[in-house]
Symmetry: C2
């Protein structure tokens, strides 16, 4: 297995602000997918506003470059000011993986 990395982002949304979060989330998702070293992303949010997004990357440098992306930085600031009451991030190295499909 080639070495790769995962970023786990667990968050709690603040009260729903209609369209603006959904739009920004789509823009950020599209932008992340275009970053060098991006592999894939999985994302789930439930009806209580709790969400987990896991993005997968080829290298720690790719993760750092995405964190430092200017448009992403603006979204991060809006996230703290407006969209999230709480979040946590873990940067991880994937040691082993397996999957099941019917």
């Amino acid at each position: 297995m080639d070495m790769y990395y995962a970023v786990v982002f667990t968050s709690q949304r603040a009260v729903d602000d209609g369209e603006s979060y959904a739009k920004m989330a789509t823009v950020m998702n599209d932008l992340a997918c275009q970053q060098p070293g991006f592999l894939r992303v999985e994302s789930v949010r439930n009806t209580e506003g709790k969400g987990i997004t896991v993005s997968y990357w080829e290298s720690l440098e790719a993760i750092q470059a995405w964190k430092d992306n200017m448009k992403h930085k603006m979204a991060q600031q809006l996230g703290q000011e407006k969209w999230y009451t709480q979040y946590q991030v873990e940067i991880c190295q994937v040691i082993k993986d397996y999957s099941f499909e019917k």
Copy 2:
């Protein structure tokens, strides 16, 4: 930061079978929490049946012991036969973490 580990479990539920999955999920969650080396767990499932659960552990040995737990093994088998159409697992070493709270 003390070294610790994360298990990312991304899954797609099959059609809803009423109570039996919810009961087993609660039992497995409680059992995991009692395992040696268990730190904490975050879990989200959306209305389309897609879920991400991230459990955190002190060591790879603790993760292996939980994977090999007999009751958990029975649940894993039921998961493949009945509850999930697809899942993937990544065993990760957490390199860095940070959080935000309002």
